[in-house]
Subunit: 427 residues, 2 copies
Amino acid sequence: MLLSIGDELVLGQTVDTNTAWLAARLARLGIRTLEHRTIDDDLDAIAAAIRASAERCALLIITGGLGPTDDDLTRPALAKAMGVGLVIDPASLHALERFFKERGRPMPERNRVQAEHPQTSAMIPNTCGTAPGIDATLGRCRVFVTPGVPREMVAMYEKSIEPAIREAGGSGRTILTTKVNTFGSGESDIAERLGPLMARDRNPVVGTTVSDGIVSVRVRAEFEDLAHAQRELDATAAEVEAIVAPLAFGRDDTSLQQTLIRMLTERGLTIATAESCTGGLIAGMLTDVPGSSAAMLGGWVTYANAMKSGQLGVDDALLQAHGAVSAPVVRAMAQGAVERSGADLAVSTSGVAGPGGGTATKPVGTVWMGLAWREDGAIHTDARVAHFPGDRDAVRDRSAKCALQLLRLHLLGEDLGQVRWAKPPTT
Amino acid sequence: MLLSIGDELVLGQTVDTNTAWLAARLARLGIRTLEHRTIDDDLDAIAAAIRASAERCALLIITGGLGPTDDDLTRPALAKAMGVGLVIDPASLHALERFFKERGRPMPERNRVQAEHPQTSAMIPNTCGTAPGIDATLGRCRVFVTPGVPREMVAMYEKSIEPAIREAGGSGRTILTTKVNTFGSGESDIAERLGPLMARDRNPVVGTTVSDGIVSVRVRAEFEDLAHAQRELDATAAEVEAIVAPLAFGRDDTSLQQTLIRMLTERGLTIATAESCTGGLIAGMLTDVPGSSAAMLGGWVTYANAMKSGQLGVDDALLQAHGAVSAPVVRAMAQGAVERSGADLAVSTSGVAGPGGGTATKPVGTVWMGLAWREDGAIHTDARVAHFPGDRDAVRDRSAKCALQLLRLHLLGEDLGQVRWAKPPTT
């Protein structure tokens, strides 16, 4: 069972990312999560939920409610559920004082409660925040409590909780999952191509989900033996990849930009960006990748037309004749970026992200994407246009991903037309 | 009760954002969510959860499992829970065929099941996707089913489900919530300043949460009368804002960049960006705001030093003498951005985002932020340095937000030192 504590979660002010992460990690240990429950900042409700959960399962992980303020009630609620009092842990108090001292300020008095824990329980050190976690036993149930801050929860799970669960013995089963991520076609099309692989009685079982334009093919293998599960998982994932290639750009959390930076670095190529409607998103995605400076030289956000002509050398006559959202302009932007940065390749975008700015011939969602590259001593360019549905965020996000996927296909020598929604210029 | 359906949610492959959104919207109608449950793609488990939920409450909203593929089981599970069969809705089938026709391709045969619904239930039109929703009654419980795709769920809730709930009569109570968002100080400090406002027995009740460096002060008012709740909510939120000013940049979902674009537009000022370690994030944030083209001219991502000197005119001697991560360089970058774009203001960043690149004097997390502005016919500059904890993503995100908050304080004529972690140059 997983319990998440916090008004802000029940009321929907904060999205709970911890339970998904924990469920995935527990699945790797063969531990199937029975249920997620989300409880608000109410002492009795939390204590009741802890007791009810502990009766139903052997492992309970609680996240949140360990902060220093009056609405952080997980410590007293756990003590209440266990029927014991709270005591101060001197080592934790010392660690708290040190935490603040290292940051050059005295510990606020209110943080003192973070060193409290129920009698008979143990503290779990927090290596990146103030609140230590708690390791307790309630009846037959092992209970772990972590802070709600995702970074602190992750560190505590990896350093202390997972090792403790392993030490206490496994589950006898292993569930392994992976995702094959694709961009450039719809969910129905991908499912159609996968055909019998998606039968519900198959093991590993295959399913699809779509998130922000990326269709992920999920594979789940459930076997007794870890090595067996891993073999079957890999075999099915490889089958999936063979079917959806070349739109599959990576597994699990691999992003398009990670794949692209890896490809560029392996080939010793450099890249620059020239963005209008995506306004820095592509540069932001590429520089998000650690070590991207080996391939990414930089870029321009030429939002105003004067920036397009002044900084990238786009001919004013082109802007006048075709408008900023056009094949000639994105070609010229990409070419200017290659010339002025000295990079081997560039991508560019210009489109109508909305909500305003649409016209009859260029409605909201119309986006031109350009590529430029050096070949045989000259700079070559290409362009594609797409009409993305959705709001401003969706149009900008899909445009950035589409430009990156087009660049990836270009590097692979693949036909850009395999990205279904990107069409070549008609003239 | 809220049910979310999908293997990918239980196994943690996808984070469920729908329940938080729905809980927040239902709270506005005075409907308190008892519980969130997340169920995997198993016909019997979904049917059992639907039956159990319908017995406990008057309203059940189910999201997900309405796709066209074999692992989409919400339709048959609801029919099973209701003890009825599935029938095809001719109008929905027609709408599906039209959806595909408008996109220039025939409807895949597998999408036909999306026109099915349990007997005695009604279909809810889907205005932005293929899967219609379902409106059913099970015992005393009204059951709504929506697609899991957030965009489609939101549209369906707003257009059909919320009006249906209102029509069926309210709850007699209203819960209103708001958040006052701050950047520039820690959660403990903010709580310390709020003092007695955070007493747990207060109504409206006040709490704090922190997310990606933004400390939000949450206010929740629970009263019988909507107007009364709104008055009390506003009064407490105003008190909070007075205490934490000038770090409070907006309420609810208002972002720093929205506030900044609004301020710039109101004053008729233009801005440009010059980013190294943030690599386009600041430009991406600013252009994320609809209508930002009125203030945002564009920017540079000068990741390589050759881009800093070649494109922004940063003197090579400065780069040699002080290194790229220094006050003189971010000042020169911001100045170059103002000069070359013609903008009234510019922000710049240069830092060590990690994981590599740290040194003894400039460890990972060291980030310089620069400002430049036109005043009395000249260009003035300023710089601040911060040491951000956390990984690459965290350092980049905090740097971008910190630069925007510094710019906001500058526009307000406030002392930049109020952002606690941004220090002036020591020399």
